[in-house]
Amino acid sequence: MSASHAVPGSVGAVTPQDIAFEEPLPLKSGAVMPSYSIRYETYGTLNADKSNAVLVCHALNASHHVAGWYADDPKNVGWWDNLIGPGKPVDTNRFFVIGVNNLGGCHGSTGPASTNPATGRPWGADFPVVTVEDWVQVQSRLADRLGIGQFAAVIGGSLGAMQALQWTISFPDRVRHSLVIAAAPKLSAQNIAFNEVARQAITTDPDFHGGNYYAHGVVPRRGLRVARMLGHITYLSDDAMAEKFGRELREGGFKFGFDVEFEIESYLRYQGDKFSTYFDANTYLRITKALDYFDPAMAHGGNLAAALAGAKARFLVVSFTSDWRFSPGRSREIVKALLDNRHDVSYAEIDAPHGHDAFLMDDPRYHGVIRAYMHNIPL
């Protein structure tokens, strides 16, 4: 099969693009990014009055590669390909969809592994801590450069949903619809605790070298593995894990040792190994911090409704019943704040078994609601 062969519903082979920003970016931390480069992909066609642009924000470990595949790597399919494409719930025949790798990432945008122009060496530990607000600023600059004044919709799941929500606060006039999926208005102590264990796994790895492991030609692989294994546990529901792995053993009986025995151990180790080969540990540290810091209500004395008072977008909020990382109750906090402001909002609570990862799954009720909502967005 040639890579140009059209697959129904797929945007097909895609090519990422890079865009350089020379104007310094002040960050929430007080640090300033002197210059940076952002990698992004687009699908569909921007219409004449530029009213059909949709921004897709990624979560912890994803990237700008949202849909389609690469001609030289056809197995590398975009992470939300089941949702986005011609005729799909986010229909690229109607919408011009943009996926962007956030600042601090490790998929092509400027991040800790990039060269610090001031030193000529990788940024490493010196790369600033970035926040959801900072990412939204960068995304708005990308929109400026693409000539997009206002997005028809900003869509995200999990950490991506936090960006979709932040957009309506940071740039209320630049987003007409915000799709906030599997979100929380801020992390709980338990959420932060999981992140901290993941960070500790990385920073206590002897190969971490205070974050400047690039110079030593190593990566803190063991730490990254553990961080990813821990993350995976929080992405799946107990039921989904029981269904998928149960107490199945790889071989007949107990071996009374500490090698891989249960299928779930094998799965987690595999996921951890895979992740540690391509993900940058410094990026992981920063993204988990961005999660921890996200709390739009904080500037308003903890009042989320006050934080969202200036929003002008219409909202679709979606949660999943088996998601214990960001449970439906967390989404209902967002819905309540929107209702208190009399904003237009619809809320769907999808009875799905997959846990937090349900937002990536192809569930007909979930996709049906997204499809219907997107279809009703006038262009």
């Binding site: 209702l339 208190d340 237009d344 619809s346 769907a348 609570e349 009875d351 009720r365 219907a372 909502y373």
Partner: protein
């Protein structure tokens, strides 16, 4: 026999016309058990209302989103804690009360969240229903289309029952329409009316304002 309706215990829409007449233009409306959102859609189109529907069913949530009305997927039995007190002009409960377990709590919640409540229900005192019971079977009709073993309706009551309830719970009846086959009934409504629609508020709130 297929019954016209939206699959949410709302077999007929003859109450919609009355509700649309009662709702003031530009009002803020919460429609509980909103089904496919067609009442809200009509109120939006003809009365310019804003507001939300609430429904528990996946199919109805999808239908509402398709209809372009705001919908919050939620179980009415757990209350309306997601809604601020006094945040709506009207809270509507169209042909849903008879299917609710917590009748008193829901009516109280309705009139906490809304300044007025609009409630419609099939009248179990309708002569046809009485006749069927007299004949020895549970009533099955346009307004009560379900067989006894397969019905969402768990609290069947009459117009008289409801008015006793309202007096006992200090609910003030602001308006009442009794309908049979879409026509208003004024004589012997508890006997001749198939469907009742009430507009209510809290009597003590009104007393405070009046005093």
């Amino acid at each position: 026999m297929s019954v016209p309706g939206n699959g949410n215990g709302r077999p007929a829409r003859s109450d919609f016309e009355t509700i649309v007449q009662w709702v003031k233009p530009g009002a803020r409306v919460l429609d509980l058990g909103c089904g496919d959102g067609s009442l809200l859609r009509t109120l939006k189109d003809t009365r310019g209302v804003t507001g939300y529907g609430v429904d528990i069913s996946d199919d109805n949530v999808l239908a509402c989103v398709t209809n372009g009305v705001n919908v919050i997927q939620s179980d009415l039995e757990v209350g309306l804690s997601g809604f601020e007190s006094g945040s709506f002009d009207y809270v509507i409960l169209s042909q849903t009360l008879q299917a609710m377990k917590h009748t008193e709590r829901l009516l109280r919640e309705m009139l906490r969240v809304g300044r007025e409540g609009i409630v419609s229900f099939p009248n179990f005192g309708f002569w046809r229903a009485r006749l069927q019971v007299m004949a020895g079977t549970m009533p099955v009709s346009r307004e009560l289309p379900y067989q006894w073993y397969d019905t969402p309706n768990i609290h069947l009551f009459t117009i008289e029952d409801f008015e006793i309830f309202c007096r006992a719970h200090r609910l003030r009846v602001l308006d009442r329409a009794v309908l049979t086959g879409g026509q208003r009934v004024s004589f012997a409504p508890n006997l001749l009316g198939a469907l009742a629609v009430y507009r209510l508020d809290l009597a003590h709130g009104a007393a405070a304002v009046g005093a």
